[in-house]
């Protein structure tokens, strides 16, 4: 005979086993991101991009389809993530201007810059894209976030030559950063290691304590604890995958998004604001 106590403890074991696996996977990925940033930051050359052309870009290929609902919208779906150094020059303090060759490369830019590039520019574009997105295959576009002239960057490579022949020979894998990679990885990892992992363990502990309230697996309080544990189990799993996606490296960051039709406004200024606020969800 399987008693309530036996089954209750078994269920709690399932809850804890899976919570710890979610925590372990998140911790593993946070440390991997730190290690990756640490490895990529070695042997970098710092300088300012010399114009007029951008030196690198992050591209996200997307497919847009008409969204459901009464108000017109376009739902964007990521297809591929690409990044490359376009080639150009970087001014290095005290050394001069160094050339950088074009290459496929890891390019880390501020994620907010990619989101900005993904926004709907104006209502005319929205209408055009919305029509094109009616097709089953959808409407294809590429979001491009550039590293422009004047940006302060670091490039993985070795500085060679002098004067007019000064150049950065790219390391393998080639990488260009418009943000501090270690700071980026450090902030994300700290949130996961200091808040997310202890948070979900605390959540499981609270559910367990309440579920084990005397008389165990019999009282109303214990019942509420068991119900909370069940709900917690259903929530901690998507939380784990959300953290996994959030920890992705910036050049492969999930963008997706949704354009919503700008609402009719009473004047041009309001129309402009509406267009901006409704651009990307």
């Amino acid at each position: 005979m399987l008693t309530r106590e036996l089954m209750g403890y078994a269920a709690l074991w399932v809850l804890w086993g899976n919570t710890l696996l979610v925590a372990l996977a998140a911790g593993k990925q946070a440390f991997a991101l730190l290690a990756r940033a640490n490895a990529l930051r070695a042997g970098r050359v710092y300088g300012r991009v010399v114009g007029p052309e951008p030196i690198a870009e992050v591209c996200v290929d997307q497919i847009g389809r008409q969204g459901a609902g009464s108000s017109p919208s376009v739902v964007w779906h990521d297809q591929t993530y690409r990044s490359r150094i376009l080639g150009g020059a970087i001014e290095i303090e005290g050394k001069g201007v160094a050339r950088v060759a074009a290459a496929d490369a890891i390019v880390w830019v501020d994620p907010a810059q990619v989101l900005e590039a993904a926004r709907c520019p104006d209502s005319a574009t929205f209408n055009q894209v919305h029509q094109a997105a009616r097709k089953v295959k959808g409407h294809a576009r590429t979001i491009v976030a550039e590293v422009p002239a004047g940006a302060f960057v670091s490039v993985r490579g070795e500085l060679r030559g002098e004067g007019e022949s000064l150049e950065i020979v790219l390391a393998e894998p080639a990488a260009l950063f418009a943000i501090d990679p270690l700071r980026f990885a450090g902030e994300k990892s700290r949130i996961v290691l200091a808040y997310f992992i202890p948070g979900i363990i605390l959540g499981a502990a609270i559910c367990t304590i309440v579920a084990l309230h005397e008389p165990v697996f019999d009282s109303l309080v214990s019942k509420l604890g068991a119900l909370a544990a069940f709900v917690f189990f259903l929530l901690v799993l998507p939380a784990g995958t959300a953290v996994r996606d959030w920890l992705r490296e910036p050049h492969e960051r999930i963008v997706r998004g949704k354009w919503v039709a700008p609402k009719p406004a009473v004047n041009a200024s309001l129309a402009d604001n509406a267009s901006r606020s409704g651009a990307v969800e």
Binding site: L2, V22, A25, D61, D78, A226
Partner: protein
């Protein structure tokens, strides 16, 4: 080839119900009674544990866990080709199956039929791709896999449903959920603890096991290849109780085939084209060897080499492109 020609009658589209004189009563194929039997036994096991305290023992609970997994196998088959001739019965059966797994069976249309069968979500990986897990200790990958693939799938389904023209899908999704959670909720009100331990735990076990199958059947296979993308389990009894779900390669490549004929097509079409290591005699043996005896994940092997050797087979041009097969899967699901 003769065996294949004999079976063309069964390889019909999901929306083509057989005529009354050709087909059996109520169901599309006589073999469907096996699936209905599985679901009936599962409901019986759950009901007996809720209403008869004497049935709350290891044997009945163990059977309920196993039949919950089989219930998810039936969901898989039913969402490829409806069991019944009547559409309303098929929709009703979806609700019954959804209760058994505590997830809406309708989810299988985008998650399995459209995305998983082609290992591709508009250029992004399958929501249940083996790469979702990456522990060094392989057993943890098996345990953890549903924790990632489940939410991934539901996120993907939400995005898929957010596109215009999928209102009927959303309606069916809602009805499945309402029935599954409504009936489970009612049982909670009747007997909270018995429902939690003897209904919800089996429900979750089955749902999580069917997600794990994605890892078991595709890990260390080559999803880019035409024939070596899946691992097959060919044990006779296993496939009887699993409704031929061990023959996974042919199921992927010819989603329109009825499950009852997969073994014949596997022998003729798949076996000459796949690496012998992808034809496993026993799933239990494979699990034991891969996840218990082997601490680390097996190294990747160039399994696709086998199909390059066999590409000159007489019926090698018999298989439609992935796009053609995707369209076939959509038709078979009655979309």
């Amino acid at each position: 080839m003769a065996a294949l020609e004999d079976q063309t009658i069964i390889e019909r589209r999901g929306d083509e119900a057989p005529t009354a004189e050709r087909g059996p009563w109520l169901v599309r194929h006589p073999a469907e009674w096996r699936q209905l039997g599985i679901v009936a036994v599962y409901w019986g096991l759950l009901g007996s544990m809720v209403f008869v305290p004497a049935c709350r023992n290891v044997a009945v609970l163990g059977m309920a866990f196993y039949f919950s997994f089989l219930n998810s196998v039936v969901i898989h088959n039913h969402m490829h080709q409806g069991v019944f001739k009547a559409k309303w019965l098929n929709l009703l059966f979806r609700r019954v199956l959804s209760f058994g797994a505590l997830y809406p069976a309708t989810v299988n249309i985008p998650a399995h039929n459209l995305v998983h069968h082609h290992f591709d979500d508009d250029g992004q990986p399958d929501w249940a791709a083996p790469d979702n897990v990456a522990f060094k200790w392989n057993l943890l990958n098996l345990i953890h896999f549903p924790n990632v693939s489940g939410p991934n799938t539901f996120n993907g389904v939400q995005r898929w449903a957010g596109i215009r023209g999928r209102e009927d899908f959303k309606r069916q999704y809602l009805y499945d959920n309402a029935f599954a959670f409504g009936l489970t909720g009612a049982l909670f009100l009747y007997d909270f603890w018995a429902t939690l331990f003897f209904v919800v735990l089996p429900q979750l076990y089955g749902a999580r096991c069917i997600l794990r199958i994605n890892l078991i059947q595709h890990d260390r296979c080559d999803v880019e290849s035409e024939w070596n993308h899946s691992r097959n389990f060919v044990g006779r009894f296993f496939n009887w109780i699993m409704c031929n779900n061990g023959y996974h390669t042919i199921h992927h490549n010819r989603a329109g085939l009825h499950w009852s004929v997969l073994h014949q097509h596997h022998a003729v079409e798949v076996k000459p084209r796949i690496d012998p290591s992808l034809d496993e005699p026993s799933m239990v043996g494979y699990l034991f060897r891969t996840y218990l005896l082997n601490l680390v994940r097996p190294a990747a092997k160039n399994v696709a080499a086998a199909e390059r050797v066999a590409i000159a087979l007489p019926d090698s041009d018999n298989l439609g492109s992935r796009d053609v097969r995707r369209a076939e899967a959509v038709r078979a699901a009655g979309l």
